[in-house]
Amino acid sequence: MISVRIADAAFDPYQALALFQRGHTESGAVASFIGLVRNQNDDKPVATLSLSHYPAMTEKKLLGFAETANNRWQIDRVLVIHRVGDMAPGDPIVLVACASAHRADAFAATEYLMDKLKTEAPFWKAEIAPDGARRWVDAREVDNERATRWDSVDK
């Protein structure tokens, strides 16, 4: 089962994780990643994180990543929730969870999805400082390098 959601308002990742696993006693291993807005980035304070996206493309890409993960690893269920819009420090940005009978598969699929969300999903972050200054976040080369380790998976 694959579940992908773009959230345009705050979501509770802990509750989402509880619901994700409720009633599923066949897969005992649940790896997950929760990303939250940090109060600073590169030593600059952040008051608001504003996330825009390309709606027609986002959901399609996220579904594609989840399907690839589902085919590559032994996983029973995948959940991806990604926020868009304006967020404050501490607000959840992203939740990825993979349930499997085997922890190694659950971990690998979760890491794969996080790398893909970072490098191949059409999201853009702008940080707004406490003084109102707005700054578009730059992509980092290290993320692209990290994502290349999945090249054989994506083929």
Partner: protein, 90 residues
């Protein structure tokens, strides 16, 4: 001859600098690739020229699939131009 109209989408700082999130344009028939389209778009306004001046800082999608400067645009309904993506988490 009727050249087709293409919907062009802009995101993030490309959108801010051009001043619009979307426009419907009819590029000349001799434009075959994304790179050609970008060169033509730069002639549309100062905002376009500034936003699109450095193609190495831009990424593209044709009908919601990633494309590159050499990708042919024939048959495209929607072309998006944007900076490298920055979703997910560090």
């Amino acid at each position: 001859m009727n050249e087709p109209t293409i919907k062009i989408l802009y995101f993030a700082w490309v959108q801010e600098q051009i001043g619009t999130d979307e426009e419907a344009l009819t590029p000349p028939a001799d434009i075959e690739t994304i790179a050609g389209l970008v060169d033509w778009l730069k002639t549309q306004s100062d905002g376009h020229r500034n936003a699109l001046s450095d193609v190495s800082r831009l990424r593209f999608a044709i009908d919601a699939e990633f494309a590159d400067p050499h990708s042919p645009i024939a048959g495209a309904g929607e072309i998006a131009i944007f900076p490298p993506v920055t979703g997910g988490m560090r």
